[in-house]
């Protein structure tokens, strides 16, 4: 089973502060994703990546940046955190471009005060 590890599991940040969420996958998947989960919305795509060095905007990228320095690592960066970014964030990885199954991390619960 593919392993996707997120850190930290919980984070409390102050408004205007910088937050970095990290994700590591060990199964050599090309594609990685960052989602946020809010009640009533399911999961919404923030950024994704096709491989090392690539980042693409998803459906709700505003206020977020992403970095993919290697095949294994994909970070989500909030340069100036706001209370509206309080949410649960999930990282996922997948093998194929089309019709792929995703493997998810356990999530990071972020609270911005």
């Amino acid at each position: 089973e593919a392993a996707v590890t997120q850190s930290p599991r919980n984070k409390v940040a102050v408004t205007g502060g910088k937050v970095t969420l990290s994700c590591n996958q060990t199964n050599n998947h090309n594609n990685m994703y960052w989602y946020r989960q809010d009640t009533g919305h399911g999961l919404r795509l923030i950024h994704y990546s096709y491989g090392a060095g690539s980042t693409e905007k998803g459906d709700i990228p505003d206020g977020y940046k992403a970095s993919r320095p290697s095949q294994e690592n994909f970070s989500l960066i909030l340069e100036l955190a706001t209370p509206s970014q309080t949410s649960v964030y999930f990282c996922a990885s997948g093998e194929k471009i089309s019709n792929e199954r995703l493997f998810f991390g356990h999530g990071t619960k972020l609270s911005v005060l």
């Binding site: 009533g40 089309s98 199954r101 999530g107």
Partner: protein, 115 residues
């Protein structure tokens, strides 16, 4: 644009009872559909998937789903639920957006199984 609707935000059933969680989708192309489950404090895990062929697909832990093109539905079923099935269930639609495989998630249905 593709979309997924799960009309029931919360479903409560008794242990041993049968279950159906509803999912309606909208897609301009060939739909590829998934059901994922999220147990408390965990990430999402794949239950089952439909790509083509037999409209009834089997998944893990006794779950199955039936695809209906005419009804644009992909309902999840289980004959007899166990308390450990309490979780949030997501219906997911996969479709190409340019060269990117776009996944659209429903809002989820929270299942509570009562003893």
């Amino acid at each position: 644009a593709q979309s997924v609707t799960q009309p029931d935000a919360r479903v409560t059933v008794s242990e041993g009872a049968s279950l159906q969680l509803r999912c309606k989708y909208s897609s301009s192309g060939t739909p590829y559909l998934f059901w994922y489950v999220q147990y408390p404090r965990q990430g999402l895990q794949l239950l089952l998937k439909y790509y083509s062929g037999d409209p009834v697909v089997q998944g893990v832990n006794g779950f199955e789903a039936e695809f209906s093109k005419s009804n644009s539905s992909f309902h999840l079923r289980k004959a007899s639920v166990h308390w450990s099935d309490s979780a949030v269930y997501f219906c997911v639609l996969s479709g190409l957006s340019g060269s990117f495989n776009k996944l659209t998630f429903g809002a989820g249905t929270r299942l509570a199984v009562c003893p």
